[in-house]
Symmetry: C2
Subunit: 213 residues, 2 copies
Amino acid sequence: MKTLQPLTPINKTLLDDFAACFKPVKKNYSRGEVIMRLDDDNKSVGILISGTAHLITTTFDGTKTIIDYFEQGSIFGRRFSPGTQTDPYTVIAKNRCTVWLVDYLKVITPCEKRCDKHIRLIDTMLLTMAQRAQLHVEVLGKRTIRGKLLSYFYYLSKARSARTFTLPLSLSDLADYISADRSAMMRELKKLNEEKILISHACKITILKIIPL
Amino acid sequence: MKTLQPLTPINKTLLDDFAACFKPVKKNYSRGEVIMRLDDDNKSVGILISGTAHLITTTFDGTKTIIDYFEQGSIFGRRFSPGTQTDPYTVIAKNRCTVWLVDYLKVITPCEKRCDKHIRLIDTMLLTMAQRAQLHVEVLGKRTIRGKLLSYFYYLSKARSARTFTLPLSLSDLADYISADRSAMMRELKKLNEEKILISHACKITILKIIPL
DNA sequence: AAAAGTCTGTTGCATTTGCAACAAAAACGT
DNA sequence: ACGTTTTTGTTGCAAATGCAACAGACTTTT
């Protein structure tokens, strides 16, 4: 699957500011490698410079849930666990990727100059993280697979300002993201096609009709 | 339903710091009143001093989802919408409550003295909000009603350090929080009782056995 | 170029869930 | 203290979902 424009793009200026303020450590990872374990002690923040990565958690029976996915420009890290945490949260590289890592404390502690840039950066970072969690709750909050798919698709369509778009996740991974059985999801996707609400071929989606959820 | 200790307690010192740093406006609301609309322009942060409130969203067909619930000490506000946002998010008083309101910008902008307290405050606030979103994703991420119930109950049990506890939501509201049909949830609750995994009478729950989800 | 692995797409069947509707208990307001 | 509203608890039935299993397409690795 090809890499796409980030959903919440971090522009170049912001990246430059980030580098200037925080002096990040740059690292590379290849497919399957663990980029970060999000346990309680983790005090790192990362920006994905290239490649894609997933934040996943796996239960004892092997059921995987994709909590979040990261593309070029995504900020991640310190996904504070609510404290239950039996299952580990890990950020795993989906393919070769480059990451900038910084200490979380550096981020929330204002730098010497108390510069505006810094404050805007914190704001952007938190906004991004909060928005993504919010989106996920909104999607997962739908009671049916159809509702989950449509609310996610409508979001993507709006975010990219296009009726046609390519998913940032494989259909397999999408099922894990919306927390549904893959075959059940495929069936629902088929129905949506038959009812001419959308057209889909693998990860390519075209919205034909917007219906209330 | 009686008010309980907050899940993520904000201690008195923190509240004092908050008051000192931000000079909040104090307001009172009675049951059903809208405390805050969480649209994109909203730039307020609130702390619930007494009473309970829910953050809800309602779809066109009347399906209500409880996104979050607030008790004494809960911090809420600026729940950045992901941008789809067809349905409004509102914080509604569940009963008579007192709220402190401050401007979000004041919170993220470091104060004159760049005091440590301020930074810890920001950290605590964000931690709290992030944890709650994370918990919700963790609960909603379970594929079955049983899984949702148990992961939530285990969390509460751990948070309160007790096998027996009272839910912070009515069963009706709990169904909306875990995004399930109430009757289906009641059925599942009954089964959990029959299988002696827990004992429940209305909002009073006792965990008997911890099983893998 | 072949082999291994992943991803898409599909189906039958058992189970879970949602929907609609109702009754009793509890909480609330005046 | 009374009537009103909310909440808990239940059921039958239809619809949605999960599970298991399989085949072909596509990618990546060797």
